[in-house]
């Protein structure tokens, strides 16, 4: 049975698009067919993060306005079997689409794909309403900061108001060094406040910037600790039980570097 998952956060700049791209690739690598949909009309970016920006001919608004067929607008990612991107329009605005039209579009996509991942725009207005319209469930992305968690709380309320089931949480940009010093809220602090189930933690890592520069999501890199974090989240979305949380405290410092050299770095988990 196929499923539409909206990736949302409220606050901008917390990593929704990066999460959408990496989870799309991760799920496809695990054998699922996936359509990633950029719902940020007017400010599209998912194409750039995926490195597919030069292949756009048609976009989501063209499909909705009947200027092309859905299949013509879907861009196939040649690096992995089963992954397609439906880009957003760059020269239109959020009012070019209605929630009803999004619902119909998602229904068509669900006929073709195992997963439809919708990358939601920041904010709580029309763009958010469009993005959640066809979703079966939501994944909330936050960072361990007061402003991001505040907005995540607001969005959790709005997801519930949209009658979606209880959303899951991704904590992005986690810095274990700062956490161990007590200068960053830890997993338990954040879960205590937001009170929704955790889907996974993604460490703050330079791989994300490098992969965005290149247009190659980190999850393609087998040795990347961030990539491994997304692979594990993908496995959890896919329904694999008891995927251990990544121990990325090893990611920094001399001991982490040594462990990576010795070849048992990224694959280790903690119970």
């Amino acid at each position: 049975m196929s499923e539409c998952i909206v990736v949302t956060s409220g606050k901008g700049g917390v990593g929704k698009t990066t999460c959408s791209a990496n989870l799309g690739v991760a799920l496809a690598m695990q054998g699922a067919t996936v359509a990633v949909v950029d719902a940020d009309i007017g400010l599209r970016n998912l194409d750039v993060i995926l490195g597919l920006e030069n292949r756009i001919v048609y976009d989501l608004v063209h499909v909705i306005e009947g200027e092309c067929r859905l299949k013509q607008a879907l861009i196939r990612d040649k690096r992995v079997e089963g992954l397609y991107l439906l880009p957003a329009a760059q020269t239109r605005d959020k009012n070019a689409v209605t929630p009803q039209q999004m619902r119909e579009l998602v229904t068509k996509l669900k006929d073709e794909f195992d997963y439809v991942l919708v990358d939601c725009p920041a904010g709580i207005e029309q763009g958010f309403k469009n993005a959640v319209a066809g979703a079966d469930r939501a994944v909330i992305v936050t960072t361990p900061e007061v402003s991001a968690i505040r907005d995540a709380d607001r969005i959790i309320g709005m997801v519930e108001a949209a009658e979606l089931p209880e959303p899951n949480l991704i904590i992005n940009r986690y810095r274990s060094k700062m956490v161990s010093k007590g200068d960053m809220m830890n997993k338990e602090d954040i879960l205590e406040i937001l009170a929704i189930p955790l889907l996974g933690i993604v460490p703050d890592h330079e791989d994300i910037i490098i992969s965005a520069n290149r247009g190659v999501p980190a999850v393609f890199d087998e040795t990347s600790v961030v990539g491994e974090a997304f692979r594990r989240i993908g496995r959890r979305i896919n329904g694999e039980p008891n995927v251990p949380e990544l121990d990325f405290s090893e990611g920094n410092g001399i001991w982490g570097t040594m462990k990576r050299w010795m070849g048992f770095g990224t694959a280790q988990g903690v119970a």
Binding site: V146, I149, S180, K181, G182, M185
Partner: protein, 90 residues
């Protein structure tokens, strides 16, 4: 463990506690849609009503909103010095 170490070394409080406390207050304000000034005014009025019936220790009184599971509760702790002896209003 780190917290224990911090205590032993008497380091200043970790900033995440500030973050957590500020967030808790913020989320309550967001949810009940009351400004901090309105909350203060509410506290004043509630205390005034209590004072009509009992003499209280104002300095050690607390009236605040707190977020629990799925709901917000009004938590108040008002030490009573003595009951004011007077007839109930007719």
């Amino acid at each position: 463990m780190t917290q224990l170490l911090n205590k032993i070394l008497n380091r200043k409080d970790a900033s995440k506690e500030d973050a957590k406390q500020r967030l808790k207050v913020l989320l309550i304000h967001d949810q009940v849609d009351l400004t901090p000034a309105q909350l203060d005014a509410m506290q004043e009025e509630i205390t005034a009503v209590i004072q009509k019936y009992v003499e209280i220790d104002r300095d050690n009184s607390v009236v605040r909103l707190e977020r629990g599971d799925d709901r917000i509760a009004l938590i108040s702790s008002v030490p009573v010095r003595r009951v004011i002896e007077r007839a109930l209003p007719a």
